[in-house]
Symmetry: C2
Subunit: 710 residues, 2 copies
């Protein structure tokens, strides 16, 4: 017996209980319509839920015909899920009781926690502590609850339930949930699950994405997020789930990290949103910027098969709409399939000789539904066409209802994605109902139809990308050497490495730097220069001087001893004058390396997603055009390659018009080594290699900055 | 009598008759429902039109209770407007009769003209000829007609009329008209005039824009265009009309000028769409890319006053929507007004202490309509707030209908623009009706609300811009000198100027070029170099060699006679080897000017809009980032200045971080001189000054290319 129970616990996860509980207790069930505790119970009782329901209220014997219990502890049976609607201050006690009762899962609808600040924050911490102690997983607090249309489970206080369908929606905003639920009903969008995250004190977006990845009723996961609780976990999970089904997200809100000290170039190039943007891109999570865009795409994913390629056809009975669709299609990366000769011959049978017979195909306003349909059928059967956007305007001659049926039947048969852009008029709702029966989503705005179709293609490409194996290279490095440098900084209470220290860190990670020697006297300098070989560069070494050039503490292209002596003394003089209080470690004599292509490789650490590596070309590429690429670590070989090729200055690196290019493999390796360094040392908050000088073969980290936190 | 008639003709323009005719003849009026000639007559008779109606049909005595005439000539009274619905081949005869009758204006609904190619093209030309002969102005052919809601005039065959309102809509697509008419009715958008252009054989968009500029019922002009018939006229007219009311346009379709020979840098940088984009920008015509975007903005213009500034407030009862609105607002250039201390104190009376009291203001889902309204009233009365986006989600506690009334009353009083984002649910239509009563447009998508508001701000700024006087400078130039150069080219049957000829053209227009001399022998070269002064540059002069550098026909930085001799012979050898058949005019010895900031000034000629001037920084600014600015000529001083400041590389020209900048006045003047040159000589099809070398004071056209057409 014990063992069987064990097994059950293993099979049924805490999150299963959110959607498919065998029994639900409503803590704070109320007899008074208008109260949340009543509405939730009502929705459970009358929403079609098939499991057991236990209202908990110490002041009632029976509500809505169900026996009431004074507390969860008094319920004689197992409770899979508790929905808590009591006032905030009572929640800790309730959680304690649920723990004692052994309830595995809860939804805390009650508000008055972190979102109210002060006492609320403390109260939420207390609830988390109790939940942890008892192993209770919970959603919320301050949340709207969940709806599972296929299990007819509605734990919310909403008067309505969404239609059954295959879109899962997770929202960080409760109010938005209500609005989308209502809009969804009006627009007949079908949902599998509807979830409001609330304060995310325990269960978060990533837990749910992971779960929904395995939910057979969910074909596409949509989210509205304001932040992500654990970026590293999100990246790991989302990447796997995207292989199974598309994830679409609206991420709003720029994190207000204005306070973050930005001392590196990389830091200033990384906008507030860059970590999210990078993480989404890298995991194949598709971002939407409008609510309609989100659900337009979701509807397409929920209804049509993925296209084989971006080669589509557009058919329309109105030239204007055709052009609008074509413009939008081009901008969204769709391509116009070239009709085969056979298709064109076939089209000649139906269309007037002055028609264009090209894609986009305009059957003109003179076409009735028969003509339109014959043309449609011809092009969708063309082997070059991998999907169709079918647009129709309500011109007098056409019976759009008949057309919708005709198109629907063929679309179902050929198994290519078909998206509608039936645009007009009073009958459009009726037509949309017909199209929906054949799983053709319809959009009355050309741009929306195209954007939705483009997402299908995008996901198709994401899948292809994700199928390629990502090799994370691990280099042999001297971790200990770096640890010692950081230890020394900590001992000296410093956070900013000198250029020389930063270069030593890089050297320990196998990144080439020009030859250098730190000297403390002019004689040593002369000796070092002889050893390194002219021309050399002189630079002050000081933890206090960041902008060395600005105060004249750098002398380049020193070709002989005389220049060296002058340069050395010049630096000493300038430092005395402009930075009299700076701690000076010496002057470094460095090899003057030949000029090549200047690139930048940098790193920053994001509070949610951890380290990010940046790559860009130097000079105006970053300064004026912010032409850079970011990746969340660890950066695979393939991603490193993509970083290099996605910047606009890529041609410079490849070499164009007879100019020599740069060693791409060297850049790639340096990116990966920096990635490894950032992964190995959490204390690095920012680093810049600027410039990394690139030659046809190899290169050097000519200058470097690095900051640590501890 | 004669004189009075004259006066009448002057006062009533041909286009007046399209919308406000005293009498209308329907040529091809039909007794058969389903026929266009019936539907048009029906709409005139039953649409509420107050003028006289004459059905013309030789085979009927009476239709819809009106006496029929066999031809327009038989109508005993004056006809202001004829609506033609007869088959295409009969149209010339009908037009001839209209001419004889003295009908000033016609709408040709009949199709089968240019749009069908071949014979149709000829037929259209014939119609134009007849119309010209008789001075008839006409709309179409192949058009849907016009609707004037305020005169209850519907000359179309549409079963429905749009609602009365203040938006004029002009469409180049007939089918789109029908669709938008239907959608507009569903979404309760009010129109003043509804016009389909058809083939634009006579009356075009510019004629109508000019007319609508003076139409008191029209507050905003919207257009769907696929092309513009006369770009120069459009620019002139639109610029004036925009001072009176906003113009919004969707311009679809990339002109397929793939065939256009592009030999200049400027040509390749000017995309297919650049002339339109430039013309819209320069005239203050606002471009939309989606149909909903077009009418969202139009609704706002039709209903709310313009804001004083971009400083707005956002108020919401749902944090999520607030963040979405805030994101969109930032992206669209709106700014968040800073609440005064008084406002914050006032808000404290209504909102819980944990509220943020910041803009965007989240009154939270706990606010009922009273609380929300008090907060709304407080912020809209804040003197720092110049407009409000008011968002509401249908949370249980709030009565949104009441809220809509409360907000509406205050909004009407304070005369600041208020835009609604009431997002949800079944009741949203009812709420929108309430808001509309107070002239508050509502959008259920945050992004749409913001985009509409941003257009108000944009127009406000356009008006400010247009109020600044535009000074077109005319320089004293040597036109004759240029004419002679072009004459010589024509005589020699050449279209491409040599570098030297191009520079001579520039010199004639007062644009400085480095000293040069074309020589034919080594001795002459030596002499020229002495005269010019070393260092010099040698370049081949040949109409057949464009890429001089590629074949080694350019030698730079020649510092003495020895180098000169070597260089000279080198060029001769290379030309013999790589371009043995080229015509050689000589070798030019040129002053080697010091390096400065390299910019490009170019010109192309667009078939619709005439000359365009381009400006950009040299090197990767144009090659990689296409960081350039265009203007339609003539370019005023102010526009020239804006061209320079709008490129991303502007900082380089201004001089940054201690680096010297360039002579902005010199660039400005060169742009204007190039503009004048392009205006003066229609035969110039492309020109490039690349580079124009800029110094702190002045500069030189170091290299130049130019092509003419004749």
């Amino acid at each position: 017996m014990e063992q069987i129970l064990e097994e059950k616990v293993v099979m049924r996860t805490a999150i299963d209980n959110l959607f498919n509980p065998r029994s639900v207790a409503v803590i704070g069930a109320s007899r008074h319509p208008g109260k949340v505790g009543y509405a939730v119970l009502y929705n459970l009782v009358y929403g079609g839920y098939g499991g057991k329901i236990f209202p908990i209220n110490p002041n009632a014997d029976e509500i809505l015909g169900l026996q009431c219990y004074p507390s969860a502890l008094k319920v004689p049976e197992e409770i899979d899920l508790a929905v808590i609607t009591v006032p905030n201050r009572l929640v800790p006690e309730v959680m304690e009781q649920l723990g004692q009762k052994g309830v595995p899962t809860a939804i805390i609808i009650s508000a008055g926690f972190k979102e109210t600040g002060g006492e609320g924050v403390k109260l939420e911490r207390e609830v988390v502590k109790i939940a942890k102690k008892h192993g209770i997983r919970f959603l919320g607090p301050n949340c709207f609850g969940v709806i599972d249309t296929w299990n007819s489970l509605n734990t919310t206080f909403s008067a309505q339930s969404p239609l059954k369908g295959h879109i899962a929606f997770i929202s960080q905003s409760g109010a938005l949930c209500i609005s989308i639920l209502n809009q969804g009903i009006m627009e007949k969008i079908g949902f599998s699950k509807f979830i409001n995250l609330g304060n995310k004190a325990d269960i978060d977006e990533t837990d749910l994405i992971e779960y929904l990845g395995n939910d057979p009723k969910t074909k596409v996961i949509t989210l509205y997020l304001e932040d992500i609780r654990d970026g590293r976990k999100f990246v790991k999970v989302a990447r796997e789930v995207v292989k199974k089904k598309p994830i679409l997200v609206i991420k709003s809100g720029r994190t207000e990290e204005g306070g973050r000290a930005v001392s590196s170039h990389t830091g200033s190039l990384a906008g507030m949103d860059i970590a999210y943007e990078t993480a989404f891109k890298q995991t194949g999570v598709m971002r939407a910027y409008r609510i309609d865009e989100l659900f337009d795409a979701a509807e397409a994913f929920a209804r049509v098969p993925l296209p084989k390629s971006e080669n589509i056809a557009i058919i329309t009975n109105g030239g204007g709409v055709g052009v609008l669709l074509a413009d939008a299609a081009s901008l969204n990366g769709l391509k116009f399939a070239r009709f085969t000769q056979k298709t064109i011959e076939e089209l000649h049978k139906y269309l007037p000789p002055f028609a264009s017979f090209r894609n986009p195909l305009d059957v003109t306003g003179n076409a009735n539904e028969e003509v339109y349909f014959n043309a449609f059928k011809t092009i969708i059967e063309d082997p070059n066409v991998d999907g169709v956007i079918t647009a129709s305007l309500p011109v007098q001659i056409i019976d759009e209802r008949k057309l919708a049926h005709l198109i629907g039947e063929v679309a179902t048969r050929v198994k290519k994605p078909v998206i509608g852009c039936f645009m007009g008029g009073e009958e459009v709702e009726e037509i949309e109902d017909i199209l929906r029966r054949y799983n053709i989503p319809n959009y009355t705005e050309p741009e929306r139809a195209v954007t939705a179709f483009a997402k299908l293609v995008k996901y198709k490409k994401i899948l292809e990308e994700l199928n390629v194996e990502e090799k994370i290279v691990t280099f042999e490095v001297n971790k200990k050497g770096v640890a010692e440098i950081f230890k020394k900084l900590r001992e000296e209470n410093r956070t900013r490495l000198t250029e020389i220290e930063a270069k030593q860190v890089l050297e320990n990670y196998g990144i080439m730097v020009p030859k250098y020697k730190v000297v403390k006297s002019l004689d040593e300098a002369v000796e070092a220069a002889e050893e390194i070989g002219y021309p050399v560069v002189l630079k002050i070494v000081s933890p206090d001087i960041i902008h060395k050039t600005d105060i004249g503490a750098v002398k380049i292209n020193i070709t002989d001893e005389k220049e060296l002596r002058n340069g050395y003394l010049g630096i000493i003089m300038n430092v005395r004058k402009y930075a009299p209080r700076a701690t000076i470690y010496g002057i470094s004599v460095q090899e003057m390396v030949p000029s090549g292509i200047e690139v930048i490789i940098g790193g920053i650490r994001d509070p949610q997603f951890g380290p990010l590596v940046m790559f860009g070309l130097g000079g105006i590429y970053v300064e004026v055009f912010r032409d850079v690429a970011f990746r969340v670590t660890p950066v695979s070989e393939r991603e490193a390659e993509k970083m290099i090729s996605e910047v606009k200055g890529y041609n410079i690196i490849r070499g164009v018009r007879g100019r020599p290019g740069g060693d791409i493999n060297f850049i790639k390796e340096t990116i990966m080594r920096v990635s490894q360094l950032l992964e190995d040392f959490e204390e690095i908050s920012e680093l810049d290699i600027n410039p990394l000088m690139i030659y046809e073969k190899g290169g050097f980290a000519v200058d470097a900055r690095m900051t640590i936190k501890y």
